[in-house]
Amino acid sequence: MEKFTRLDGVAAPLMRANVDTDAIIPSREMKQVSKTGLSGGLFANWRYADVATRQEDPGFVLNRPSYRGASILVAGSNFGCGSSREHAVWALHEYGVRCVIAPSFGAIFQGNCVRNGILPVALPEDQVQALAALVEAAPGVRLSIDLEAQTITAPGAAAISFGIADGDREMLLEGLDMIGVTLKRQAQIDVFETGYRQARPWRRLDLSGADAAKLERALPL
């Protein structure tokens, strides 16, 4: 996975509350079994006056010249709520977004960000509003984000500190592949599983083998 250490980029304000993953990428824009080819569908219903022809809506923030191609979004609360679709994060990443700053995030979306090299920064509402006011007042302004120092700096302003779980921070800084990390614990998982199955044997299941035929049984009346 791509590492995230420092970022210096244009920040765009998108302060609607509860921006859901259907809005970030509508289901109909997920056209193939693929993690790529998604950025054209990013925010499609807001970004295009006509989705079919891709005729842009000039009023949408990312279509305004100063914010086009922004790598940072300053967003409203509960950003990324709704559907679990990781395509929302893949689309943001492919578009060039590397950091989203918001008062809160949809839980699945936040986890998906960290697994794909995008830094989700949760800040108190008043700090996010102040940042939004700043990037709205000076379109095209660049913010500097330093994950090691855990700071966000705007030109001429004091650095803002942010918190992030150590595990998420490490995953982003090191670009860790969590599956690879966990696979190193395979022996530990094996030991756990053996004891677990002895303690609660009814939880064993093999739908590819011994239990497959049970799926044909009738439901109780």
């Binding site: 509350a17 509860n18 679709r85 614990r185 677990y196 609660r200 939880r203 590819s208």
Partner: protein, 468 residues
């Protein structure tokens, strides 16, 4: 100090404490569907990592498959066929069982799993689908994940996660006539916002929750994610045991007795501590419906479209203004009487047999209003068969509803079948987001009974006024 049910299940599944307070948690079941499971299976195969325990996974074809009676791999969704076929092939390669289009058990994953007894109290269940929380209705710890975590669970049978904070939502009292689990959860989100549960595992408690059927509890937990909760759960009781017993994958014989004792001990201790508590008087809940584009835009059916100026928070006000524009509504307009063009009953929220019975009770001897398109999509093929066995299909057909095969159908628009542009739809589903059910479509979330009553009236209606 006592433990909550979530803490108890967490301890049982704790493989390792990781840095940062995170835990490596054992995953009992991995569920997949062709929308997001397809990419997890494909990506895992590309990395050459094997699926650790394919027998603990199951694929349900539900999201993209058509629900027309004569369906095939060819779907209304452009490119949908590739999702179905690639999922099928990847599952076969990984030796994972598929409940395919023509399987008599096919259906929406969160309907199928409890129905087959795959979901059981105390199990950890994950699926790259946000409504996995539904399965908390049987006392499982079930939560939605992304596709990358789906790969992680398939490859390692674990997930690395941080323990959520604990919230208890207590509904005490007796629900009024015509008020259902759907109204309870819409009421909660309407009162406490769509981000009110952020960071929490929500335990649903109280006499009104105990009085719900297990299917009602599945509905309640289904929309925990719409409350931004990590998941929802209803502690198992004798009703849960009676529900699970005898299902195809339920424990049998001596194992049943062991399991049943274990499940009842999962309930939260009396001195368990919660980070947050919410109490709601169930008797005060009316049939509830949404007027806007977030599940938090919910009010009693007897209410009116609110005035955005009444919202103190400027962002909530802006959200309400944008919602009214999208929904083409004026402040102060009563919800009862708003003309609708379509009505939809189905989804992982309200596609179970009890939901169809509720709707049919309203529809028996009545007809859908002229010009209204009404559709019912059973949550699974087993639900469909059971409904047909008791004649519900005839009730729906006689009333003028379409009677479909199972799937997620028009709960969401993926480029194929959808409601007509800018239509007003009353729907038993879970999301009223902009464009969720079609371009410009205006969705009003409600219970199946309210959907049925509104379909008959041709306008949003109070089911209590019709009399079932």
């Amino acid at each position: 100090m006592g433990k909550t049910i979530v803490e108890k299940i967490w301890s049982q599944h704790l493989v390792a404490d990781l840095a940062d307070g995170a835990s490596l948690i054992y995953v009992d079941r991995v569920l997949l569907h062709e929308r997001t499971g397809s990419i997890a299976l494909k990506s895992l195969a590309e990395t050459g990592r094997p699926v650790r325990s394919p027998g603990q996974a199951l694929v349900c074809m539900d999201h993209i498959v058509d629900t027309f009676v004569n369906r095939s791999d060819d779907t209304a969704m452009p490119g949908g066929k590739a999702f179905i076929q690639q999922t099928r092939e990847a599952a076969a390669q990984a030796n994972i069982r598929v409940l395919d289009i023509d399987d008599p058990s096919q259906g929406i994953v969160h309907v199928v799993s409890p129905e087959l007894g795959l979901a059981q109290p105390g199990l950890t269940i994950v699926c790259p689908d946000s409504h996995t929380c539904t399965q908390g209705g049987v006392g499982a710890l079930a939560w939605g994940i992304g596709s990358t975590d789906g790969e992680h669970a398939l490859a390692t049978q674990t997930l690395a996660i941080r323990r959520p904070r604990m919230m208890r939502v207590t509904f005490d009292g007796v629900l009024g006539a015509g008020v259902t689990a759907k109204d309870m959860i819409l009421h909660l989100i309407g009162e406490h916002t769509a981000s009110g549960g952020a960071g929490y595992a929500v335990e649903f408690a109280g006499s009104a929750v105990q009085a719900l059927s297990i299917e009602g509890r599945l509905t309640l937990c289904n929309m925990a994610v719409e409350f931004a909760a990590w998941t929802g759960i209803c502690p198992p009781d004798e009703k849960t045991l009676a529900y699970v017993r005898g299902r195809p994958l339920a424990p049998e014989g001596a194992l049943w007795d062991q399991a049943a004792a274990d499940w009842l001990a999962l309930r939260s201790d009396p001195d368990a501590v919660y980070d947050k508590e919410i109490a709601i008087d169930a008797a005060q809940i009316a049939p509830t419906i949404t007027w806007g584009t977030s599940p938090q835009h919910a009010v009693a059916i007897t209410g009116a479209v609110p005035d955005p100026a009444a919202f103190a928070d400027p962002r909530q006000r802006a959200g309400a203004e944008a919602a009214l524009t999208y929904m083409d509504l004026e402040p102060g307009v009563p919800l009862i009487g708003l003309p609708i063009q379509s009505a939809f009953i189905g989804s992982c929220t309200n596609g179970r047999l009890s939901d169809l019975r509720d709707a049919a009770a309203v529809l028996r001897g009545r007809r859908v209003a002229p010009g209204v398109r009404a559709i019912v999509v059973p949550g699974s093929m087993r639900v469909r068969a059971a409904a047909e066995a008791e004649g519900l299909d005839k009730v729906f057909l006689d009333a003028g509803f379409e009677w479909r095969k199972s799937g997620c159908s028009m709960c969401f628009f993926s480029g194929g079948e959808h409601f007509a542009e800018k239509e007003r739809v009353v729907t038993s589903t879970n999301r009223n987001f902009e464009n969720r059910q079609g371009p410009g479509v205006r969705s009003h979330l409600a219970s199946p009974a309210t959907v049925a009553a509104s379909a008959v009236a041709g306008r949003l209606a109070d089911v209590r006024a019709l009399g079932a």
